[in-house]
């Protein structure tokens, strides 16, 4: 095994730097980083829980490194997977051939609450559904990347990919001089290109793009503003938009201005009170009619939730085979659907070895980590699964890779996952990098920021290096440990409904 050589080449320089840097200096850099984030205002808003509503996600100053050759393999796999997911969405909202062919059970799709029947036959501009996908991955060996879940609705976290890099550049300029790190700063430009490419034809060469946000009380509001700023587009709230004759306008100081593409960071059910939840205060009445009429592109397209449903997830490899006629490059974690009788039997008799998750859950809540659970907890899940089998899925534990991380006691390995962002417009674009989340607690596999997870800068190194697994057994740099799969979606659809009431006396609602 290459692991015997010790630290893998890609980490060698980092290893030397860590050894040469006194602990006090690392601590100072950490404090600097925190100050930097606080000053720029990169906060994660958590309202209604008491304490400071504007929190920082802990940032670890040791980068996570991926060699270019690894990245290249990974990105081919990502491209393939996202193509298949898009084809699946176009199919289930169109001819439904995969269902007719019996490759996916019809009921699983047609009766899923992520499937919007009303959108069958509505073809989005350009035929693209999932313009921005966040694919959550873990690795378990040199060539073994597993997809934990696909995020096809409103994946967030890309601002951390960009700001973490900025912070590292400011804190450790010398370290950058010694490495050839693939830049990520093109992401906003690529995103804008992607969004422009799906504008309705009538928009011409200079379509008007805007980001639709639920407002400042949304946890990812910083990111919405950041991306708008980087792309040079407006960030709008529902009240800034109005629909007239099935055309979307934004209210500007010079009167109404037509909008062609909305990168919406609002969940489907809050998009349009006329079409979905009538109590939505953040949506735009009439938006769906404008969308159906082909007058506005929505990214991601409504209805995409059926593709990232946890019960549909086991069929993604089948989608790759069905639509692309290829074998999947990225692996799926074996998943047991408790709804299926034989799966349920297996799950119930192996609860001590499995991770049980809510099929609809997110944020790392409501799950059972079998090997770490008490007998009582397992019994509780046993009963819950029997009561509502359709609500639960289960997966085996995996040997997750770790990455050296600064902790109280020094530097120690901590579990990481990776969320690369895949852009689909006229073509598929992937910026080399992503959001690395790290479980800061010893032995923990939960990387969610709501559960004490942190982030790291992710470096794709242009220099060739051996696989990450080469670092096995090195406690100071890279190690592996037995664990279960974690890391559910950090941020799909957090608290949309709460952005009413700016608490500002001068704010009044506008007529269209």
């Amino acid at each position: 095994m290459r692991a015997e050589d010790g630290v893998r080449a890609a980490y060698a320089e980092i290893e030397r730097w860590l050894r040469a840097t006194p602990r006090e200096q690392l601590d100072r850099k950490r404090r600097e980083a925190e100050l930097l984030f606080r000053r720029i205002g990169i906060t994660f808003a958590v309202y209604g829980e008491g304490g400071d509503p504007e929190r920082l996600i802990p940032f670890d100053i040791i980068p996570r490194i991926i060699a270019r050759s690894e990245w290249d393999r990974l990105s081919v796999g990502l491209r393939q997977r996202v193509q298949a997911l898009n084809a699946f969405l176009a199919d289930v909202y169109g001819p439904q051939e995969i269902l007719k062919a019996g490759r996916i059970p019809s009921a699983l799709v047609l009766e899923n609450e992520g499937f919007h029947k009303a959108l069958v036959g509505v073809r989005p501009p350009g035929g693209v559904y999932t313009h921005i996908s966040g694919i959550d991955m873990v690795r378990t060996g040199p060539d073994d990347f597993y997809v934990l879940e696909d995020n096809c609705r409103t994946p967030s976290g890309v601002s951390y990919m960009l700001e973490n890099r900025e912070a590292m550049l400011r804190l450790f300029p010398k370290l950058f001089a010694r490495h050839r790190i693939a830049p990520v700063s093109r992401y906003p430009e690529e995103l804008l290109e992607t969004l422009k490419a799906v504008a309705p034809a009538r928009a011409g060469e200079h379509p008007t793009v805007a980001i639709l946000t639920p407002g400042p009380y949304n946890s990812a509001y910083y990111e919405h503003c950041f991306l708008a700023d980087e792309m040079g587009v407006e960030v709008v709230e529902g009240a800034d938009l109005c629909v007239q004759d099935r055309v979307v306008y934004m209210r500007t100081t010079a009167g109404p201005k037509r909008v062609d593409v909305l990168y919406r960071r609002i969940d489907d059910e809050f998009l349009d009170p006329d079409a979905f939840r009538p109590d939505s205060l953040v949506g735009v009445p009439g938006l769906m009619e404008a969308y159906r009429a082909g007058n506005v592109a929505l990214a991601n397209a409504p209805g995409g939730g059926i593709a990232d449903d946890k019960a549909v997830y086991p069929y993604v490899p089948e989608m790759v085979r069905f639509y692309l006629g290829e074998e999947p490059i990225l692996q799926n974690v074996p998943t047991f659907l408790c709804e299926r009788e034989e799966d349920r039997k297996y799950v119930l008799s192996n609860l001590d070895k499995l991770v049980v998750k809510l099929a609809k859950g997110s944020g790392g809540y409501g799950m059972l980590i079998g090997p770490h659970a008490t007998k009582g907890q397992r019994e509780e899940f046993h009963a819950r699964i029997l009561a509502k089998p359709g609500d639960y899925i289960a997966q085996p534990t995996l040997a997750l890779s770790t990455c050296p991380t600064v902790v109280e006691q020094g530097i120690a390995p901590r579990h990481v996952d990776l969320r690369p962002f895949v852009l689909s417009g006229k073509e598929i674009r992937i910026v080399p990098g992503g959001l690395t989340r790290v479980a800061l607690k010893d032995g923990s596999l939960v990387v969610n920021s709501s559960q004490g997870g942190g982030t790291k800068d992710t470096w794709v190194l242009e220099d060739e290096g051996p696989g990450e697994a080469a670092a096995q057994g090195q406690s100071q740099s890279q190690g592996q440990s037995q664990g279960q799969i974690q890391g559910q979606s950090q941020s799909q659809g957090q608290g949309q409904g709460q952005s009413q009431g700016k608490g500002q006396a001068q704010t009044a609602s506008l007529g269209c």
Partner: protein, 312 residues
């Protein structure tokens, strides 16, 4: 630009300017109260300032008497007072946060650092001798913000709405400060007034030296009123503020290819009235009546600006 962005920029500038104006007012009242305490009416200064700040009804709902302690707490830190310095900075930052993309980093940091500082204020930061330092800090922060806006913003619409907010708020403040003290400036009491009171009024708009530069004569109520109302050289005079408001509105209209409305008419009228007015005529009309009119028209102008650009 989005109407909401314009609204946020306009109000973040107004609230920031208001915080600075409250600090100026408190500093002067604190000084005057120390003097008049000898004469036995310490409360008069605080009563006058509470009236000038426009929130006295709320104050008397909460406090019985305008003691120095109550008035200072109300004007600086009371969350129930929407125009307290703390509330102004919070409102300014809330507006700024909604339009991060329209602000420059320097402007955001000026506001955000102030807010972070206020959040962690020492309990005795406004007590005793610390008060003067605190008020100085507030004025510095406001000056820093104005400087950041002035030096870093592109001269497009976002800048114009910020400038509009600053100037409109400043005009309102100068009119109010003069109005609560209007009795000091009546020509018939010339000579009988405590010199110190006039000095304090001038100080509140940073105009002690300016007066000497412009007039090179001993203080007189008539001239102080003229300086603060009609002299375009004084950056906080009504004439200077309303000229800036009118010019800024004009620039926005021209920038939009000649789109003008009622706010342009109201503003142009105010600018002309102040540009060509004479102090004798103002005194003939009655200083208090004139200033009350100004405060009303300034509020109307604010409403017209919002009606035309924001709530259409």
């Amino acid at each position: 630009m989005l109407s909401r962005t314009a609204e946020n920029l306009f109000w973040l500038a107004r609230y920031t300017e208001r915080a600075g104006n409250v600090a100026r007012g408190v500093a002067v009242a604190f000084r005057m109260a120390a003097i008049s305490a000898r004469l036995g009416d310490e409360g008069a200064e605080w009563r006058a300032l509470l009236t000038a700040s426009g929130g006295d009804a709320g104050f008397y709902r909460k406090y019985e008497a305008p003691t120095a302690e109550a008035a200072i707490h109300w004007l600086l830190l009371d969350p129930d007072n929407p125009s307290s310095i703390l509330a102004c900075f919070e409102a300014a930052r809330r507006n700024a946060r909604s339009v991060r993309t329209a602000l420059t980093v320097d402007m955001w940091e000026a506001l955000n650092d102030s807010w972070n500082h206020l959040r962690n204020l020492a309990p005795d930061a406004t007590e005793g001798e610390n008060l003067v330092d605190f008020l100085g800090w507030v004025r510095e922060r406001v000056t820093l913000f104005n400087g950041a806006a002035n030096e870093t913003m592109l001269r497009y619409e976002p800048w114009r709405f910020v400038h509009l907010g600053t100037m409109l708020e400043r005009a309102d403040n100068t009119a109010r400060l003069l109005d609560v003290k209007h009795a000091l400036f009546a020509p018939e009491i010339e000579g009988a007034v405590d010199y110190v009171q006039w000095q304090a009024v001038l100080r509140s708009v940073s105009a002690m030296r300016s007066y000497q530069w412009v007039y090179r004569e001993r203080l007189s109520g008539r001239r102080i009123a003229e300086l603060m109302i009609l002299r375009p050289e004084l950056p906080r005079s009504l004439a200077a503020c309303h000229a800036a408001v009118a010019d800024t509105l004009e620039a926005i209209g021209v920038g939009q290819g000649g789109r003008f409305g009622e706010c342009h008419r109201v503003s142009g009228l105010l600018k002309a009235q102040l540009r060509y007015g004479r102090i004798e005529d103002i005194f003939a009309q009655g200083l208090h009546e004139f200033l009350t009119d100004m405060i009303t028209h300034t509020a109307e102008l604010g409403a017209e600006i919002e009606a035309f650009y924001i709530r259409h």
